[in-house]
């Protein structure tokens, strides 16, 4: 028994009332922010920075009162936390998230005159704050209610679909949408490039990582050297590695015309892919190695006792048991590769990073957003999806060793 249990409890008995201070703080900040900062801004064209508009100006007194009312109700709910109140609060947070694009519609109706087509509506400071604070509230509620992951994913998906529909059909004036419509072919091409670059790099590193990990398990010396080299590669800043790949590849392509016919050159996808694989190998190999090592010797012994051959033991016992940790490695690798591919746009590999760097070059912030937001979303999707897959594949360790299945 822990010694602390014998000590007098630090919790005082008169303090029964325990509000959820996290939600109260988050929502109070939100309430102050929506009244204090600009919710939206309207700019006459793409480059000129916009004229800000507060909450009342944007959605009228009725809208402002509605928003504040919902937030205040949420504050009241979090003062008296109970499971039921949390559920109601979760519905409230989702409601606010769903109302946000409609707020934009109202704002564009009120502020953007229809006879000035290049005028565009930007989301302001308060809008972004509201989005992130509501997201934080949502995470907090999810943690308090201990909801299963698929429920929460479904809910977010629903909100995302409503946002998407609103952005597609009803929000002509929104700057981000205008930027998208001006180059939607380019956008889809960049997205495809981004995804294919990431998936090819991850696929190569899975193959290479698996073979390297197997070699390491056989030769202890090789393990030391290989981890040393991979660590070394991981330490080198991405922009430097991408830069250093340019020279050798340009030289190779100049030496062997066959290579340049295949599309290999100093600039473009080839150096990007090489660098991406170099970066992906460390997390991949490390997790594969740990995954294969952590399978318990008893299980393998049992498999041998059942008369399994070596190859059978590997494919039917070791690999399936190692799979969750292995997929964890793929998750880390993919998330990292999605971010690094953005940097690869600097050396002409295309992808969504191209929008970021073009936008920064032209000081067109909507274009930067057009690149950065999808990258963020891709990373989150890869993280959630592969995390869920790894959860599903994890064997339920509920059966005690004595009871055979």
């Amino acid at each position: 028994m822990a010694l602390l249990d014998a000590l007098p409890s630090p919790r005082m008995s008169w303090r029964q009332w325990r509000p959820n201070s996290v939600l109260v703080v988050l929502l109070s900040v939100l309430l102050v922010a929506v009244w204090l900062f600009d919710v939206v801004s309207v700019s006459p064209n793409r480059i000129v920075s916009g004229q800000g508009a507060g909450l009342v100006e944007a959605v009228g007194w009725l809208g402002a009162l509605l928003v504040s009312g919902v937030i205040l109700t949420l504050v009241l709910l979090s003062l008296q936390p109970s499971r039921q109140n949390y559920q109601v609060a979760l519905v409230g947070v989702c409601l606010l998230l769903l109302l946000m694009p409609f707020g934009l519609m109202v704002a564009s109706d009120r502020l953007v005159s229809s006879d000035a087509p290049p005028a565009r509506l930007n989301m302001g400071m308060a809008y972004w704050l509201m989005l992130s604070l509501l997201f934080l509230c949502w995470i907090e509620l999810r943690l308090r209610l201990t909801l299963p992951r698929r429920w929460t994913v479904l809910m977010l998906l629903g909100v995302a679909i409503v946002w998407w529909l609103c952005a597609m059909w009803a929000l002509e004036a929104l700057a981000l949408g205008q930027e998208f419509r001006a180059r939607d072919d380019e956008f889809w091409r960049a997205l495809r490039q981004h995804i294919s670059l990431v998936s090819v790099a991850v696929a190569i590193s899975i193959g290479l990582g698996l073979s390297l990990a197997m070699l390491m398990r056989r030769y202890a010396n090789f393990q030391k050297v290989a981890f040393g080299v991979l660590n070394f590669l991981q330490t080198i800043p991405s922009i430097a590695l991408f830069g250093l790949m340019l020279g050798p590849l340009a030289w190779l392509a100049a030496q062997w015309p066959l290579l340049s016919q295949l599309g290999v050159s100093g600039i473009g996808w080839a150096p990007a892919l090489l660098a991406l694989v170099a970066y992906s190998l460390l997390p991949m190999v490390r997790n594969t190695y740990i995954a294969l090592e952590q399978v318990s010797p008893e299980t393998l012994e049992a498999a041998r006792g059942m008369g399994m051959r070596n190859s059978q033991r590997f494919w039917q016992v070791r690999l399936p048991l190692a799979l969750p940790v292995l997929i964890e490695g793929i998750r880390i690798t993919s998330v990292q590769a999605i971010g690094l591919t953005a940097v690869a746009a600097l050396i002409g590999a295309g992808g969504l990073g191209a929008f970021i760097f073009q936008g920064l070059g032209q000081a067109a912030m909507d274009m930067v957003l057009l690149g950065a937001l999808p990258i963020l979303i891709l990373a989150l999707i890869a993280d959630a999806g592969l995390g869920a897959l790894s959860d599903i594949l994890r064997p339920k360790n509920t059966v005690p060793p004595g009871e055979a299945q």
Binding site: L3, F227, G228, P237, S238, I239, G339, V368
Partner: protein
């Protein structure tokens, strides 16, 4: 335990670890002061270029600026990250623990480039937005590791310190933080490695640092510029990283041999 041994072999570089920081540092210095005189060598790489030595700013001043930005960010992130983790592990701040832990691990899925790009619309071009972005992003691994380190301290040890009559503050300073130090240091190392790399990308948003020669080289198609920037920045990263490795070794040996 086996995990720890594995971790140690993962960081082993083969050679005597004492030497590596010195080796990288010497190479870094050779790069910084040698490149301006290496016209002949760089000419081999880029024979047709009008100019092969990067002259818009000296590599030494770029290195200093890079280090300034990264260390300013590192000081702020370390202070705020450790502080935040301490606050949410105290009795009165425990309400915030689940949210902070979740955000610290979720936030690390955000690509640093995207964070940097999103900081520009909000804060504008220049050095300041980069420092802010570095601080925001770099705090996450530190918070996460500090949380892990403090939560990893054995309950029995904390009970013992309470039984010895230590106050909460004494327990924190004399028991929890020293025991969590290796994990916290690992977090700081991750944070700084990411920040050195991200700061270089910051050269595209108007900060002048070691990313400059690389960007200039890519824009002008001048391989020699790229090599000067890339080698210097890679050596900087390796120097700092190997220094941290030395520090970690020292902490570890202090704990496990005494």
């Amino acid at each position: 335990m086996s995990h720890n041994a594995l971790g140690r072999s993962l960081t082993a570089r083969g050679a005597n670890p004492v030497m590596w920081p010195a080796i990288w540092l010497v190479l870094l210095m050779v790069c910084v002061w040698g490149f301006p005189y290496a016209d002949g060598v760089l000419r081999v790489i880029e024979p047709d270029a009008r100019q092969v030595v990067y002259q818009r700013a000296s590599l030494a001043s770029l290195l200093v600026q890079h280090l300034l930005v990264v260390s300013a960010a590192a000081v702020i992130t370390t202070a705020s990250g450790v502080l935040a983790a301490i606050v949410v592990t105290r009795e009165w701040g425990r309400n915030f623990l689940p949210l902070v832990a979740q955000v610290a691990s979720l936030g690390q899925t955000f690509p640093p480039v995207a964070v940097l790009a999103l900081a520009v619309p909000a804060l504008g071009f220049g050095t300041l937005p980069i420092i802010v972005a570095l601080v925001l992003y770099g705090a996450l691994p530190i918070v996460r590791n500090t949380l892990g380190g403090i939560q990893g301290v054995d309950k029995e040890v904390k009970s013992a310190s309470a039984a010895m009559g230590m106050t909460g503050w004494q327990t924190l300073c004399q028991v929890e933080l020293p025991l969590a130090a290796p994990v916290i240091l690992a977090g700081i190392r991750t944070s700084i490695t990411i920040n050195i790399s991200t700061a270089a990308i910051g050269a595209t948003v108007g900060a002048s640092n070691l990313g400059d020669p690389i960007i200039a080289g890519i824009v002008n198609g001048n391989m020699a510029y790229i090599i000067q920037g890339a080698l210097t920045i890679a050596l900087l990263a390796l120097t700092v990283d190997s220094l941290f490795e030395r520090l970690q070794e020292r902490l570890r040996s202090r704990f496990y041999t005494s």
